[in-house]
């Protein structure tokens, strides 16, 4: 009986933990899913605010050249809001990650 109890105490929680573990995609499956995600979610009407060399650049999605380069983040956001056909402003942090997302009424 003690052996059975010991088995249940050690084995059952591990089994439950294992069963609740989500199997996340890796390798090719992960990469294919990512490219599909990019294709379906990328918004041509979004504008990026990117910090570079002490200034804040306003860059339309898919463009190589910045629309404006300003001294402050707030000024860059204000310029982005005035641009035509802008649905979303993406403000990036100093490490390139997403800092904040601003929805714009068209």
């Amino acid at each position: 009986l003690q052996i059975q109890r010991g088995f249940c105490i050690t084995f059952v929680p591990s089994l439950l933990r294992f069963m609740s573990t989500k199997i996340l995609p890796t390798g090719k499956e992960l990469a294919d899913g990512f490219m599909e995600f990019v294709r379906t979610t990328r918004d041509p009407d979004q504008v990026h605010i990117i910090t570079f060399d002490g200034r804040w650049r306003v860059l339309r999605q898919g463009r190589r050249r910045a629309t404006a380069s300003l001294e402050t983040k707030e000024a860059a956001i204000a310029v982005a809001k005035e641009l035509p056909n802008v649905s979303k402003i993406i403000v990036h942090g100093r490490d390139g990650s997403l800092d904040k997302e601003i929805r714009v009424r068209v």
Binding site: L30, M35, F37, R64, D95, G96, S97
Partner: protein
């Protein structure tokens, strides 16, 4: 020794992760293949694996910015300077073709290396000030002679910002933590970066 391979010797922790990501992205953008000790979990002895990677790469990046005292025991992290020394030993062993190896040394502040490891003077030593964009510029400028069509780091930085946004959102959606180094395997991150760059980079390197 392969001129497309770049060996990276750097800290593996979440504080350094943003810098590592920008370095990996730049290497892939310059059409090179990054080699990093945690990408290959074959069970091989760590030092043997590192030496094998050093021998196979024509280029090496050694980041010594975290050499100072750290952790609750205030002990120095010796792995980076040790691995840097092993690679320099290979470079100066007068063995063909390792004498052709090229090194980039990254540090947090300019000239700090002179106080901790002055013997490396004369090599390419750049300071990134813990800023991913400066780490990117250092790596891009260092690799520039290998491929004349590498764009300005401004272009690579813009693309990297877009990649970070899309990659972060995607990983969160499927259950990974994009800011935790232990969440998604580095090999998978490299694979995602490479795929994104191939589909989005306008320049032929």
């Amino acid at each position: 020794m392969d001129i497309r391979k770049v060996f990276i010797n750097c800290p593996f922790d979440n504080a350094y992760f943003p810098l590592l990501k920008s370095i990996l992205f730049t290497i892939l953008y310059c059409d090179k293949e990054p080699l990093i000790a945690i990408t290959n979990d074959s069970g091989e002895h760590r030092l043997a694996k590192l030496v094998r990677m050093m021998k196979s790469a024509s280029y090496s990046i050694h980041d010594i910015s975290r050499v100072g005292l750290s952790g609750k025991n205030r002990l120095p992290r010796m792995n980076m300077p040790f691995e840097c020394g092993v690679d320099f030993g290979l470079r100066y062993s007068d063995t063909d073709p390792y004498h052709l190896k090229k090194f980039l040394i990254l540090d947090s502040e300019p000239h700090r290396y002179k106080r901790v490891i002055s013997d490396i003077s004369g090599h390419d030593i750049m300071a990134h000030n813990d800023e991913p964009v400066l780490a990117m510029k250092s790596v891009r400028d260092w690799l520039k002679p290998t491929a004349p069509n590498i764009p300005l780091h401004l272009i690579i930085w813009d693309d990297y910002n877009e990649f970070r946004l899309e990659n972060g959102k995607y990983l969160e959606r499927i259950g990974y933590d994009p800011d935790d180094m232990k969440s998604l395997p580095i090999a998978d991150l490299i694979f995602l970066m490479g795929k994104w760059i191939r589909e989005n980079r306008n320049t032929v390197i």
